[in-house]
């Protein structure tokens, strides 16, 4: 039994913690928000230099060839730093290319994604209806893409996107250079301006189809994203818990530290409980990705649901523990609060993932 990351993997985490602490403190995330930048170049550079961007990309395509466990470790640190990067999106994009890309497609994009020269994302949601097959109206015709994707995380920073579309009425995935003529990015005011989403509109946009993909391919890529984002969520939740804990140790009311009151102590214990129960789910998800286990759809959904709840709870109770100051713009609490909801919505709400859990359980437990 070795339900843990390896020492090397942990060392990568520690290295990233130090580097992000320097390059992407909360002030950097705030700067991204204030200056309306689509992401933090500083944090991205840290990831590139640590080899985290190509962790799961084979050396043949310029990657490190380590694996998804390293990706999860990095995501956890990005969450802890509350960094503004398209890390999970880019991982989803490169994973789709690795699975279904032709040699040509791989050679074109993977080295750039591995080095950080390009940012990737995936665009599945449209018509305000999540990713379900019946909602897809984007079509591929003669190598050109027509349609619009909505609420695409990292749409404003990505260079390349894997997009779900119909070709001859059948769902598939294709890859689009977002700098092409025919691609328009539509910015929006987002709940979390440090992780902006946007619309992608395609009109005569050149695209290249990924072979052997179908509707289930999108779900497969979502499962990968769910696990990696769960690590980001848990990292952020832990940071919020630490903020609340630290404040409870210094803030006094009625003559003692507020952290001496059970009202606060038990609240923090509950935050911790949610984080630790989510953490083991995320670990299990990481294991499932790394071994390509049949449990992945279940594990991904479990990680997604638990991590979303952990960050929701940690972010909102962190504001509560801070009291008035936690409600101000100047304090960092709201960065976590807003991130919590943005991540709860990205990849679809828990309502949908719980249904995925239930379908898996029914399948495994046929009476």
């Amino acid at each position: 039994m070795n339900f843990d990351f390896s020492d090397d993997q942990k060392a990568l985490g520690e290295q990233l913690r130090r580097a992000l602490d320097k390059a992407s403190p909360l002030g950097e995330t705030r700067r991204v928000m204030m200056e309306r930048e689509p992401y933090s170049r500083a944090a991205w550079t840290v990831l590139a230099e640590a080899g985290a961007l190509g962790a799961a990309i084979p050396e043949a395509y310029g990657g490190v060839g380590a694996g998804p466990l390293e990706v999860c470790i990095a995501a956890y640190e990005l969450g802890f730093a509350l960094a503004s990067t398209a890390y999970a999106s880019s991982f989803q994009c490169s994973s789709a290319l690795l699975r279904w890309g032709s040699d040509l497609q791989k050679e074109k994009w993977l080295p750039a994604l591995a080095s950080g020269a390009a940012i990737g994302t995936v665009a599945f949601s449209e018509n305000g209806a999540g990713i379900e097959a019946s909602a897809i109206s984007t079509v591929v015709r003669e190598g050109k893409l027509y349609g619009a994707k909505q609420a695409v995380l990292d749409a404003m920073s990505a260079d390349v996107a894997v997009v779900s579309a119909l070709q001859d009425g059948k769902p598939l995935l294709c890859v689009v250079d977002l700098h092409s003529v025919g691609v328009t990015r539509v910015p929006h005011d987002c709940i979390d301006p440090t992780r902006p989403s946007g619309d992608l509109v395609f009109e005569d946009a050149p695209c290249s189809v990924l072979q052997n993909t179908g509707f289930s391919s999108a779900q497969e890529i979502l499962n990968l994203g769910a696990v990696v984002l769960a690590f980001e969520q848990i990292g952020a939740a832990e940071r919020a818990l630490f903020m609340a804990r630290d404040y409870a140790l210094v803030r006094k009311a009625f003559g003692q530290q507020i952290g001496a009151y059970q009202g606060i102590k038990h609240k923090l214990a509950d935050m911790y409980l949610k984080i630790e129960t989510a953490r083991v789910h995320a670990y299990w998800g990481a294991w499932a990705i790394s071994t390509n286990a049949a449990e992945l759809p279940l594990a991904a959904a479990g990680a997604r649901v638990m991590a979303t709840e952990a960050l929701d709870s940690a972010a909102k109770e962190n504001v509560q523990v801070h009291g008035g100051i936690g409600f101000t713009w100047e304090h960092d609490c709201h960065l976590f609060y807003k991130r919590s909801r943005a991540y709860a919505l990205a990849l679809g709400p828990a309502l949908r993932w719980k249904e995925q859990i239930m379908r898996q359980l029914e399948r495994a437990n046929v009476s």
């Binding site: 709940i191 003692q256 509560q320 309502l351 949908r352």
Partner: protein, 403 residues
Amino acid sequence: MDFSDSPEERVYREKVHAWLSANASPAVAEQDLSVVADADNVPRAKEWQARKWAAGYAALTIAKEYGGGGEAPIKQVIYEQEEAKFDVARGTLDIGLGICIPTVVVWGSDAQRDRYVKKALSGEEVWCQLFSEPSGGSDLAALRTRAVRDGERWIVNGQKVWTSGAHFADYGLLLARTDPAAPKHKGITAFIVNMKAAGVEVRPIRTMAGSAEFNEVFFSDVSIPDSDRLGPPGQGWQVGLSTLMHERMKAGKGFGLAGWKKMLDIARNARIDGAPALKDSRVRERIADNWAQEQALRLLSFRAQTALSQGGIPGPEQSISKLVDGTLAQQAAAFMLDLVGEPAVYAAGSDSPLRSVYSSWMWAAATRIAGGSDEILRNVIAERVLGLPTDARPDKNTPFNEL
């Protein structure tokens, strides 16, 4: 058991309604609460207050000799229920007229009452309340703003926070520490402070919602004549407590956060996994649950109104309502965003149909903190209603300057 007015109440309601009909247009929609603390709203609010003053509706529960209506609190409730049906500037002067001025009436000297009450009631002068401090929070009596006596005046230094309307107020009701050697509750004195005086600086506080309804107020050697001291030195805590009683004599109203109707609207248009959200029994249950809680708050306000109608004092209905409302609205807003799914990330857009849900999601967080945090209110219920022991308060009897 019935929900109708007593005969006397009905007559009063008709009278008020008739006057309002003659003086204002019917409301077309719920007033946007965000304008309440907006300086742009002040002229309209003053103008409306002047008209109420002329008609005898300026402050119904204040005694007639000071320019009020001399009515029972239930009349105030009825007036406000009727006024809410009209398109008038509400809310902006509430802190002054509902909290500060009644306190001046109770604690002020004749000279203070003559000088301040009528000018406020007539809408000429606007007031704000200067109690909260950065280091205080729930522990209001931990305030550190100092007032040092210097002959016939007091020199004030320190900082207040979360002061609504400080940027347009003419006067403020201030609590300051005058005897640091006394235990924390005993060394405080209340003052009336001229907000235009030298040394008073008002800075807006930007909230996580991006707006600036509140202020910090800094005092640097601000001079207050002793004639503007309110109540005896060292009695400031009692002055502060008496404001709470004025707060309590209301029937309570919601915080205007998005509730079950909005949820039902959203559910009518949303889809989950390809099926209409309104057919998803999770969504149906959530709407039913939200309705049940919101309806409870509405019914609790009827209970408070019943107490007032019978000449009594409402119970803990307001504490219960605030405790329920904050948590409920925060969860409900998150659920509504989830219901829409991915595109709900655009809720922050000023033209988004979800903008009110997004606001509600943030302001609910504030509701759980402001005016007694969830934790403080649970303590209050446990101690005052259920009779459980107070928390240990190691600082209670220690001189403030030794804490």
